[in-house]
């Protein structure tokens, strides 16, 4: 495409966007001259350039709307919403034509007659006094007035000298551009190019001060000089340096324009807004006046013009002083002034942005960014090499290179930063149109529009933002009567607020409308089958409202053309999550809704955690990592399972876990010896004592928090995100790939993709899990234990202490074989007997059989059950002792009667040698409060005996090593009987008995030895050191008999 045309297109598109916004502003504040001038100038420029490039259609439309604007400007027409609507329409037409131009390089066909007719009608309709034809007379006069032109030419070159320093490139561009702006259209101006600012046809004798001074161009030059010079002034600089550059220039432009136009009220206003600080007195004003006069002279204003200008400056003296005064007395007023500044600055800063910068193609910036990325990578590589060598001569230069690279990187990153206001530019127009259409009164309050973020991110959030604001306007804000009825103001307000917070940008969209009705959402969620009634009943209002983000939640069948609120919110969420952001919402019915979006500053270079799974390394962006948890046996955190679902107890919640190995499809099966990791994972649950650990990356996607279990966590590294090849774009679990410092390529994981892959429906469930976890937490009291609940047989709920369960398995029924009349399954290279739980009539005939695996030492057995229900924390307080075999008794667990099973019984069923049956069933009930101390290093055994002895009525205390028992004795604890294991690490049972029997107040306490070593030799030795009895482990009945016997003996003796 023609460069010139290209340039024109970009520039015009930008101008149109500005005009869009400005017009809406104008509609609200018809008397704001600054805004009007700005609009007029932009439209005029468009028109002029069109003529120059030979684009008749564009030109005629622009001309017609310029006419209307001209009338506004001259006060011949009132700024009415109707008129503004038509002008906006003409802008839309211009945009249309522009897009046509962009595609085909020629103006598209079309008839603008009706539109132009309407514009003309508006121009004519009320402003009969000033007819366009009256202008030709004045226009040539301006073009012909050579004197100001000469002064302008001088002035244009002067600033360099005047400033006494080399101008920055942008500053030169300003003057050049402004001149080009005004001059380029000049020769092409049609005779009736009427309403160029200087040609304001106020009937006036002779040229006004404004024209005499050289018109807009000369004034722009003067304003530029003043704005640049004043902040550096020794005496009064501080008053001006606080105002940002762009704003200051715009203000001075306004001030001078007003002064030269002898518009006293405007000058007063602008002056007051310029002096934004206390302490500006008469002296300071004199200095200012002198400075201005110097500038006037410098641009070669005629002496009389100069005098007049200074005169009019005098008129604003009071305003300036008063403004300063106000700041002394009332600091709070600054808020108002700031607002004021904002209004004035809006147009000015936009104008400045276009003129104080150079246009660089995005491609070039992207290339730069890529090259810097490469540089960063190479730097990282070098650093790594140098780190490996000590005392290298390269160390220092590479340090320096590193630093420069970092700075360069930051610099280039900055070039990609754009104020978020760019994404908002269209919003005022949209809100305005919507409020017209819907007959609502809506104010759009945009704050922090200067907050910068990466242009790539900016592009991506533009649409979601627009959508959300539209939603707020359409469905959030009520109609004026409704609002009044609710006791609110007629005007609804939508506040957009953007700010930085720790490497992120927070964008809030807040409206004071009706909020989201949880009831309706609840109903909808129910209709759509997103949640059951029971689930919904347990949810808080906030959780229900969050259904609007749910993928299946679309109220497309609802009201208006834009349909119900919530339409496309899932799309919004997806888009925001795509760029690594999060979205949250708070809504109070009747009060309004606030959305909060959190997005990363940039996508290009991120800090990432390098992890590994199955020997492969992957990067996880830091932003996705909430925390890192190391789960090891014996540490505070360990991985538990609910029916094969791994979970982690993390503080007050249950965290669902996914294994990265699984997600990535690395095989993980019980029989797959090839996969070490999988076995490790299983073993971990099996052998509580195995020293192994997992790293869990806690990540959040939407409201869904989950843990990703990885094998290893290495380091964090700054990585340059590169997109994956298009042929891999469907792999949602990767957000890109990158090259590490060592030159290897690794894939970057996307937690969103992982969450999606794990369970698409989980996002909304997390809340429910939360509450459940919290509820569980509440019931946990000191002595509670983890119990696994399962079902076996009709209607009965059964429980077993969780620590006794080694694993939960789902075994395919086909794999269960019959051998020697009993069920066995090949399990990890051995045969595992399967015993049916009491009440279970038989194994399943097909599919998978749920099995609880119990292990102790070499013994492993499976208990077939119907289903695994839950894991709860509760007291295993046996209320009714059971006489049935295999049952310890019944307890209330989780509010329901539950049978606690006797694992020892089932172990004896599985292994004959493990527990010999005995017929005797004597067992005398002990006296209440009989205290027994159990010393055993095996957790399994302690857990097995605990319910058993409890049921038998004993008060049991457990310790896991001999020394602990001695400590208890030394503390003065008293027990009626001591049961001790023999084979223990450290001090064994024999030694312990020797110590306890030797002296101390436990010397006469009966001691019972429990051991798997039941040879006569051991028995003898046991008795020799003082054990009163010796019982084989796992012989439950023998133990109980022995206990009552020993206690009886003791009682008799006493």
């Amino acid at each position: 495409m023609d460069d010139l045309l290209n340039e024109f297109l970009t520039e015009t598109a930008e101008s149109i966007d500005v005009v869009d916004v400005e017009l809406v502003k104008l509609e609200q504040d018809p008397n704001n001259k600054g805004v009007l001038d700005n609009i007029f100038r932009l439209v005029h420029t468009i028109k002029g350039t069109c003529g120059f490039l030979g684009l008749p259609r564009l030109e005629s439309v622009a001309h017609a709307s310029e006419n209307v604007l001209g009338k506004f400007r001259d006060g011949e027409l009132l700024v009415t919403p109707e008129a503004v609507t038509v002008v906006l329409e003409s802008l839309d037409r211009i945009k249309e034509i522009l897009s046509g131009l962009e595609q085909t390089e020629t103006e598209p066909e079309g008839d603008d007659g009706p539109l132009i007719g309407r514009l003309d009608a508006i121009a004519e309709g009320k402003g009969a006094a000033a007819k366009p034809p009256s202008q030709p007379a004045t226009a040539p006069e301006i073009v012909a007035s050579t004197e100001p032109d000469a002064s302008l030419a001088d002035a244009g070159l002067d600033p360099d000298a005047g400033l006494g320093r080399p101008l920055k490139p942008g500053e030169v561009a300003l003057d050049e551009l402004e001149r080009a702006f005004m001059e380029a259209p000049g020769p092409d101006d049609e005779p009736d190019q009427p309403s160029a600012p200087q040609a304001t046809p106020k009937p006036m004798a002779g040229a006004r001060l404004f024209e005499r001074a050289g018109g807009e161009d000369a004034i722009a030059v003067m304003a530029h000089l003043l704005a640049n010079r004043l902040p550096r002034h020794a005496k009064i600089g501080s008053f001006f340096s606080v105002i940002p550059d762009d704003l200051r220039k715009a203000k001075f432009l306004g001030l001078l324009t007003a002064l030269f136009k002898e518009d006293e009220s405007s000058s007063n206003n602008v002056m007051a807004s310029i002096i934004g600080q206390p302490g500006f007195g008469n002296d300071q004003f004199d200095v200012l006046a002198a400075e201005m006069k110097a500038v006037f002279k410098e641009v070669k204003l005629a002496a009389d013009v100069c005098d007049d200008a200074v005169m009019s400056l005098e008129l604003v003296r009071d305003a300036a002083l008063a403004a300063s005064e106000k700041h002394v007395t009332k600091v709070k007023a600054s808020a108002g002034a700031a607002n004021d500044d904002h209004d004035h600055g809006g147009g000015g800063s936009v104008e400045k942005r276009t003129s104080q910068s150079i246009r660089v193609s995005v491609d070039l910036l992207e290339d730069l960014m890529n090259m810097v990325s490469e540089l960063v990578l190479t730097r990282n590589q070098l650093l790594q090499m140098v780190r490996e060598k000590e005392d290298s001569e390269f160390t220092v230069p590479i340090q320096r290179l590193s630093q420069t690279t970092t700075e360069l990187q930051e610099g280039v990153m900055k070039t990609r930063m754009q104020p978020i206001g760019n994404a908002w530019a269209k919003l005022p127009r949209i809100v305005r149109d919507l409020s017209m259409d819907l007959d609502k009164k809506i104010e759009l309050d945009m704050r922090g529009s200067e907050t910068e973020l990466d242009r790539q991110v900016l592009e991506l959030i533009k649409d979601p933002l627009t959508h959300m604001v539209r939603n707020s306007a359409d469905h959030g804000i009520e109609t004026p009567p409704e609002r009044v009825a609710m006791g609110k103001t007629e005007h609804g307000t939508i506040v957009l607020n953007a700010y930085h917070e720790g490497g992120h940008i927070i964008i809030e969209i807040r409206d004071d409308g009706r909020g989201i009705a949880a009831d309706k959402i609840r109903q909808k969620a129910l209709e759509k089958g997103l949640a059951s009634e029971a689930e919904l009943a347990n949810m808080s209002e906030a959780q229900i409202q969050k259904f609007v983000f749910h993928a299946g939640f679309s109220t497309a069948a609802a009201v208006t053309s834009v349909s119900g609120r919530g339409v496309g919110m899932d799309v919004v969420r997806t888009n925001i999550e795509k760029i690594g952001g999060t979205i949250d919402m708070v809504s109070v019915e009747g009060k309004g809704t606030t959305f909060q979006i959190k997005i990363p500053l940039t996508l290009a270079i991120v800090s990432a955690l390098i992890v590994s799974a199955a020997g492969e390394r992957f990067a996880v962006p830091q932003i996705s990592v909430l925390e890192l948890v190391r789960a090891a046996d014996g540490s505070d955190h360990r991985i538990e399972r609910i029916k094969n679902t791994p979970v982690l107890r993390l503080r007050n919640r249950l965290l669902p876990l996914v294994y990265l190995n699984d997600i990535l499809g690395f095989k993980k099966s019980a029989d797959g010896a090839s996969d070490q990791k999988a076995q490790d994972a299983d073993k971990k649950v099996a052998d509580k004592d195995a020293p192994s650990d997992d790293f869990i990356i806690v990540s959040q996607v939407g409201a869904f928090t989950f843990g990703i279990v990885v094998d290893q966590v290495y380091d964090t590294e700054e990585i340059v995100v590169k997109p994956v090849a298009p042929i891999l774009k469907d792999l949602s679990i990767y957000s890109g790939n990158t090259i590490l410092g060592d030159g290897s390529v690794i894939m970057i994981l996307d937690p969103n993709g992982i969450a999606e892959r794990t369970n698409s429906g989980v996002v909304q469930e997390s809340g429910a899990v939360d509450e459940k976890a919290a509820a569980n937490q509440l019931t946990i009291k000191d002595e509670s234990e983890s119990l696994l609940l399962f079902g076996a047989g009709a209607k009965s709920r059964k429980a077993v202490p969780l620590p006794l369960v080694a694993r939960l398995e789902d075994i395919e029924v086909e794999k269960i074989e019959l051998s020697d009349g009993r069920h066995v399954v090949q399990y990890r290279g051995a045969l595992m007997p399967i015993v049916l739980a009491e009440g279970l009539s038989g194994l399943k005939t097909e599919g998978r059989q749920a099995v609880l695996v119990f292990t102790d030492g070499d013994y492993t057995m499976g208990l077939a059950v119907d289903e695994i229900l839950d894991i709860v924390e509760d007291h295993a307080d046996i209320k009714i002792v059971s006489g049935k075999p295999g049952m310890v008794g019944s307890a209330i667990i989780g509010g329901k009667a539950t049978e606690v099973i006797d694992v020892a019984y089932y172990l004896s069923q599985a292994f004959d040698d493990w527990l010999k049956s005995r017929d005797q069933n004597s067992g005398v009930a002990p006296e209440r409060g009989t205290r027994i101390l159990l010393i055993d290093d095996s957790a399994f055994f302690r857990n097995m005996l605990k319910p058993l002895l409890k049921v038998a009525g004993y008060d049991l205390t457990c310790v896991d090593h001999a020394q602990a028992a001695i400590d208890l004795r030394d503390k003065g604890e008293h027990f009626n009987l001591i049961i001790s294991d023999i084979d223990m690490p450290g001090m064994d049972g024999f030694e312990l008995a020797g110590i306890l029997k030797k002296d101390g107040h436990w010397a006469h306490t009966p001691m019972v030895a429990l051991s798997s070593f039941s040879s006569p030799k051991h028995l003898e030795r046991g008795r020799a050191v003082g054990f009163d009895d010796y019982i084989a482990k796992f012989d439950r009945k023998a133990l109980l008999e022995c206990l009552s016997q020993q206690l009886k003996l003791q009682g008799d003796a006493a």
């Binding site: 990578l377 492969e616 990535l664 994956v724 090849a725 774009k729 679990i733 090259i739 290897s744 894939m747």
Partner: protein
């Protein structure tokens, strides 16, 4: 000269079969590279590799062309081509000579040829003693892309 370049082909071997691609579309020829595999990626994607700071997606041509796993124990070589602005590396058994086939005539694919081959082969050259199938890089990667999308 330009026209003769259009007749020059880089040849390569895949399970003994001679294949060629236009020399102009070849950006690089690499010996065995360290390739990072991509879990869950289609089988014909071997992984990604680092070519002087660019990330190149490696295409397992054996898989793509329907050959089995390599059995001779040799190391794959890479031919780097660009497709829609992205670099791809074709993993092949061995790279052969560059042939100038200006005088020879490219013949159409025999209709009986395997469907998969017919799609990606532009035509066949009769050389002394063997046949050279000319690969259409666009289709090799293009249809791969569409099948990934499907």
């Amino acid at each position: 000269m330009a026209s003769s370049l259009g007749h020059e082909f880089v040849t390569m071997r895949l399970e003994g079969q001679l294949l060629g691609i236009p020399v102009l579309s070849v950006q690089d020829v690499l010996s065995a590279q360290k390739i990072t595999s991509i879990p869950l990626a289609p089988a014909w994607v071997s992984g990604v590799l680092n070519l002087r700071g660019r990330i190149v997606t490696a295409i397992n041509m054996r898989e793509r062309m329907g050959f089995g796993k390599r059995t001779d124990g040799g190391k794959d070589m890479s031919i780097v081509v660009e497709f829609r602005g992205e670099p791809y590396s074709l993993q092949i058994d061995r790279v052969g000579d560059v042939l100038n086939l200006e005088k020879e005539v490219m013949e159409k694919n025999p209709v009986t040829m395997d469907q998969r081959w017919r799609e990606v082969s532009r035509g066949i050259y009769r050389l002394d003693g063997e046949l050279l199938a000319i690969l259409d890089v666009e289709t090799v990667l293009g249809s791969a892309e569409s099948s990934a999308a499907a």
